[in-house]
Symmetry: C2
Subunit: 228 residues, 2 copies
Amino acid sequence: MHASQTNLAEPAPAADPTTKDLILFAAEELFAAEGFEKVSLRAITQAAEVNLASVNYHFGSKDALIDAVIENIVTPINRERLHRLDSLESELAPDSAIATRDILDAFLRPLVVAIKESDLSEEMFFRLMGRCMAEPDYRMPESLIPQFQEVVQRFSDAAARALPKLPHDLIVWRLYFSIGTLVQSLMHIEALDSFSGGKSGQPSLDDLLTRIIDYCIGGFEAPVSENK
Amino acid sequence: MHASQTNLAEPAPAADPTTKDLILFAAEELFAAEGFEKVSLRAITQAAEVNLASVNYHFGSKDALIDAVIENIVTPINRERLHRLDSLESELAPDSAIATRDILDAFLRPLVVAIKESDLSEEMFFRLMGRCMAEPDYRMPESLIPQFQEVVQRFSDAAARALPKLPHDLIVWRLYFSIGTLVQSLMHIEALDSFSGGKSGQPSLDDLLTRIIDYCIGGFEAPVSENK
DNA sequence: TATTGATTCAAACGTATGTTTCAAACATAC
DNA sequence: GTATGTTTGAAACATACGTTTGAATCAATA
């Protein structure tokens, strides 16, 4: 039996980190910096100061390690998303709808929350998140598929109530467009604040998020042009 | 001396395609389907029915081949973008500004135009385009940097005139957000029209583009929320 | 202490990759 | 027709990778 499951909400018992955790942490960091395919198991085990064979021993394969890392990142975010949507819906007067801004905020802001709980730097975390959704050969880990379906379902339903004039399939499209805007920003975050640089330092994370949310709200509520 | 330069607007002289062209075409196709890193030179040369060594002979290295493919795709698109912007500006009454929709259309639609001139299928072409801008380890070929700087400069200037209330750096950000929306859609185009499926077949390319442009216009023109 | 099962370790395996080599084939001009 | 520069061809090179192996080590139990 392995000493530690891939425990998502580990209470961090002051104990020494297990080999498995050392691998997970080193892998997170390297994947964020260089991408899943580019980082070799040798690089990971060297950074983690563990033996090369221990990855296959504890995870089974490199692919399974990648899945584990992605699950560790994405699962708490999706949980937080649903939690926030729950709150919004429970505070709601009957027959009224949540504001588009609140929906998008509940969808996007959990990323920022996740950062505080991560050991990665902001930039690394964002890069990793972006990779999780943008890697060209990315296949979603099995366990995340139903999770994501639920999230998309719940949020598109909420958006449909907020924007009753939009056909439902357009709602889903625009939700994906919003994800795209976010992901692409995360992937190229250094490019973004390099040119926005010149003026004092980089904008804070919340500033970036605010800008993205502003943009996505506009996109979501945009009128639909006729298709000739 | 090589028999054919990497000629962008080749008049297609009925002559046999050179080895170099065979490589370029096979590489385009495979890169689009599987990504730059994943495709081996052996796969390319086998598909092109040329010798393995000819890639290094004609291009120097795999990286240089990747650059050549990207340049072949992106350069005509950027040229078309600037051409369309030129037209819009020349038809303009003095002291008036181009509509946001026209600016975004001039920026995004050249992709569709490029498809018609490409030998790739629509889907493959879009995938390749997406990869050109979304590959995690993507470094832009040297020759494209000034090209892109000009495009961003010209379009953000035009947008600044259309939206004089927006601070200039926000304009550039939103231009990048629009690119992100587009790129991400291109990369996951099959996912998009799979769920939109159920209803009759896939939406046409122009439909997709129209939806993206609608969304981006909304994003571009969205009000700016106060940063507390 | 002796035994068992889990874990670590160094080393090797098998395979795939980008690149290089150098001789053969080709085309072109003298 | 011979000489010259270019292009092709089959094979090998060097390296890197994910994975496997089997012995050594550790931890806990009886």
